[in-house]
Structures are given as structure tokens and as C-alpha cells.
């Protein structure tokens, strides 16, 4: 069996929701007996291990904690309790966009982004042409990223991330904003990444693409890990609470919805 790639052990992450920020607001809220702030568990005691080379689909409803979990794995955030450990270089997209600087041009952002991943100027120059070719941004490459459409923005981010020689690849809703030809290219690239033995964590609501990409599914619900196992069972599990007939009808509908993706790719 391959060595561990991602270990998540008893991880809890709390977020504080602050309803009122100024002294005036806080005083008024206190006088009226309203809550000033509220903490909620974005992740609640989540434990799992992913082996090197596994391709795992992370599924769940909006707000179930998927992106938070990805941020903890990528190191953007740290858990309040528990331990997250990873092996090797991590690259990927979190919540459809990469971290770009809006004032910098696409070209400058490629270098900055690659530097944040730990690449040197020479290493970036080596992958630069491939990144540009894959992103297909043409002349826009020299204009500030702040002027990009959301599709162009995620194209560039995805393109940098896939060209980093990472050991772990994280993909959060990558296919949500791209157009059809680009989605197809992304799926092919991610399959290439998976088939080269890298660990992939893929967040998606599209059951069809998860089936294509992944050999294991982890489901989150209100921050708790509720399912960890086989892909088909995981997708099935997501339609809990519905009777069988309705559930399978829903599943068919879902599959039809991303069949555009599944059939063409």
C-alpha cells in the first residue's frame, strides 16, 4: 500500500460570526438582548487518511465545510483542534479562484503565484510557456487581472496550479465557471495528474465527473464526516432522506445535468 499523503486527525475548526462591529452596535445589541457574536463549527472532529496516489471526491451540500477542509489541507488555515499533516508539495485551486493580485497583469501574477508555491524564477520560466498556452488568454495576459472575467480568472489560476510539479493536487469547483471546451481540457488535465500517481482531492457537486475522476468519496454534512468509501455508494448516500424511487430519479437527473460534461469529456 502506498504511504500516507494526507492525514486529517480529529480536526475541528470554529468560525466566529460577528453580527455587530462598532461599540455603538454592540451596546444597542446588548441592551436589546441580542447576540453580539456566534461561533459555529465549520468542521467538527473530522478524521480520515488519504494514501499517496488516491483520487478522492469531497462532496456535500453548500456550507457543509468542504472548502474549509481544503483550506486546512492546503495550509491557508490551521485547525483549532486536531492535526492536519501532508506529504510533499501542494498545489491547487480553492473556491474557484487562485490568489491573484488584481493590480498585477496576468503575466506578473503567474510569476507571483508560482513563487508562492515555492518555485524560483528559473523554474517559473521553464513552465511559463505551457501555463500561457493552457490558459489561452491571448493579449489579456498583459492587462491587470482585476479586469478579467471570472472565467478568465479561474483559467489562469487552474493553469498555474496544474503546471506546478505537486504531490497533492486540490481542486475546488474548478469546473463551475469555465466554458465547455475549457472544462473538457481541465478534466483531461486532472486525469493526467491523477494517472501520474499524484494525490487528488476533488470537490464537486457533479456526480458524473466525480465518478470519472475519483476512486473514493468523502461526504461532509454540517461539518461532520458522514460517509467515507466507495464512489457509487457515496453519490447514493447524498440523496438520503428521500425514498428510493425519488432518490434514484434525482440521481438520474443529476447525472443528466452533468452529462454534458460526462458524455463529451
Amino acid at each position: 500500500m502506498n504511504p500516507d499523503s494526507i492525514v486529517v486527525d480529529g480536526v475541528t475548526k470554529n468560525f466566529t460570526l460577528r453580527y455587530h462591529r462598532s461599540i455603538k452596535d454592540i451596546t444597542v445589541a446588548k441592551m436589546k438582548g441580542r447576540a453580539v457574536s456566534n461561533t459555529f463549527k465549520a468542521l467538527d472532529d473530522v478524521t480520515f487518511t488519504i494514501k499517496q496516489g488516491e483520487s478522492v471526491g469531497l462532496m456535500g451540500l453548500n456550507g457543509s465545510g468542504k472548502s474549509t477542509l481544503l483550506k486546512l489541507i492546503s495550509g491557508v488555515m490551521r485547525p483549532d483542534q486536531g492535526v492536519v499533516k501532508t506529504r510533499g508539495q501542494i498545489a491547487g485551486l480553492i473556491a474557484t479562484g487562485a490568489g491573484f493580485h488584481p493590480q498585477l497583469s496576468g503575466r506578473e501574477n503567474i510569476f507571483l503565484n508560482a513563487a508562492i508555491y515555492g518555485l524560483s524564477a528559473e523554474e517559473t520560466a521553464e513552465i511559463y510557456d505551457d501555463v500561457v498556452k493552457f490558459a489561452e488568454l491571448g493579449d489579456h495576459l498583459n492587462s491587470p487581472v482585476g479586469n478579467y472575467s471570472s472565467g478568465q480568472y479561474s483559467r489562469l489560476g487552474f493553469s498555474v496550479a496544474v503546471h506546478i510539479d505537486s504531490d497533492i493536487f486540490l481542486a475546488d469547483e474548478v469546473l463551475a465557471v469555465g466554458d465547455k471546451p475549457f472544462k473538457k481540457k481541465c478534466m483531461e488535465k486532472m486525469e493526467e495528474i491523477r494517472d501520474s500517481g499524484r494525490t487528488v482531492v476533488y470537490v464537486s457537486h457533479a456526480a458524473g465527473s466525480v465518478k470519472r475522476m475519483c476512486d473514493r468519496v468523502i461526504c461532509l454534512e454540517n461539518g461532520r464526516l458522514v460517509f467515507d468509501g466507495d464512489v457509487d455508494e457515496g453519490i447514493e448516500y447524498l440523496h438520503y432522506g428521500e425514498d428510493d424511487a425519488k432518490g434514484s430519479a434525482k440521481l438520474k437527473q443529476l447525472e443528466a445535468a452533468d452529462s454534458a460534461l460526462g458524455a463529451e469529456v
Partner: protein
Amino acid sequence: MATGVDERPVRIVDAPLAPPAENLGLLSVFKRRYLLKLLVQREISGRYSNSILGVFWSYINPLTQFCVYWIFMGKIMGADKGMDNYPVHLFAGLVIVHFFTETFGAGTRSLLGNKGLLKKMAMPKEMFPVASMLVSLYHLVPATLILVVVCVFSGWTPSWDTVPSLLLALGIVMALGTALALVFSLANVFFRDFGSAVQILTNYIRFGVPMMYPFSMIEDALGDKSWIYLLNPISDAVLLFQQAFWVGVTKDPEATAAKHLPDDLWLWGLGAFIGSLVLLVIAQLIFSKYENKIPERLT
């Protein structure tokens, strides 16, 4: 359908299982100098973006201050009485004080201003306050060159202590400025009030250092309690700058130093430097304690 994990090639990852993005604070910043260089370049081009005068704002600001202080403090209120070459005294003070206030101000805004990166990418967050300090240091270079030219035209006689005084003053401001930038940039993420508080503090600093008036005025006013004034590291840095530049352009440098500089300036300067380094360590500890809450508070 996906191929099973066992059918795919095995990728040997020659790395230990460790927390992602382990952070050694300022040490990681200096380990990743190339990234720091890119961030500094970005800030240099970005600090005055969308403004017509651009980087000239970095000089217009101290220049207008110089004119106001010279006319009102020097000429009208008479702070320059009994001083040779008051304008150089004022200018030398402004150069080093502006380095500090620019570091403090831009450093405090640095984390909020880079939230696009901080929310999505894992990197040492200390990068941003440090980059702000380095950009201010970069802006200091032309101002110091102008100061040297002014001094030369005013009949400057540099002495052995010019360079060491200059370096010690810079060391104090770099350490103290970075320490304050770390703490205030962090605090500013949680409460935007700190950004506004910095403006007020900056005003106090301008009046609280021997720039518009000579140190001898403080000695006259405070007598043997003037050591309190010297506890401010910025005061010591400004006095070192006066020792480096202004003293050399007066008619009798030795008499000027005896009258307008404190007796143990070197000791005060060294003390201020060590004190600022201690503050920097404390600032790093505070930053490390709370930095993991930064991404979720950047909204």
C-alpha cells in the same frame, strides 16, 4: 470510470509527513527571498497606482511638511533660534521620521491590502509587513541622496561617525518599524480602528522627536528628566541622523554636538536598537499566536 489507485504508477514522495505550510515567522520570510523580492516589486509599483504623480507622492509629502515646519515652526515660532543651518536639521529629521511613518502606515495596511492572496494561498504572512518596510527603505534612498547633496552645498565636513550613526539610526527604525507593522497589521485585520489610530500616533511622532526643534530645547524644558524623552527609540534615531548630517554643516561641529546632542548618544542609540530588536521578537510572538485567524477575518 476511474482506474483504481493500485493500477496507477506509484509516485515516490521524498518528503516527511508534516503540517502544511509550516511557518517559522520572519525566518521563513528571509528563506524565501525571491518571493519577498516579487512582493516588494509589486508594492513599489502598486503603492501609488492609479495616481498621476505616482511615486512622487513619497517626496511631495515630506517636502510640503518641510515647507510648513520651516516657515511656521522655524521662522514664525522661532524654534530655530541659536541654531546653525536649521533647514538641514529639519530635513535630516524628516527623512528618517518619514521612513518610520511610511513603514508604520503602509505596514499596518499591508495584510488587508493583500487579502486576495492571503485568503487563497498558504505563505508566511509576515511577508507583507516586511515588504512594506523594505519598500519604504527603497524610497528612503533618493531622499538620503538629496540630503547628502544639500549637506555638501552647505559646507559639510563629514566625520568618522557619519556612517555608523546613519546605519545605527536605520537599524533602529527598521527593527521598530517592522515590529509595529507586524502588530498593527494584525490588529487592523480584527479591528479597522487601528488603521485610524496609526494616523494619530504618526502626528505625535512628528512633534515628539528633535526634528522641528533642537534637543537642547527639551533639555531646557525637562532638565535632568530629559532621559524620558530619549526612551523613545525614534528620538534616538533622529538624534543619530542629526549627528550624521546636521552637526557637520554647522560652523563649530564640536560646540554644536556638545550643546544640541545628549551626552551618551551612542549608548542611547545602542540601547534603542537592542530595545527595538526585543520588541521585534515580542511582535513576532504575538503575530504567530493570532495569525491563523487572519484568513477567516479578511472579509
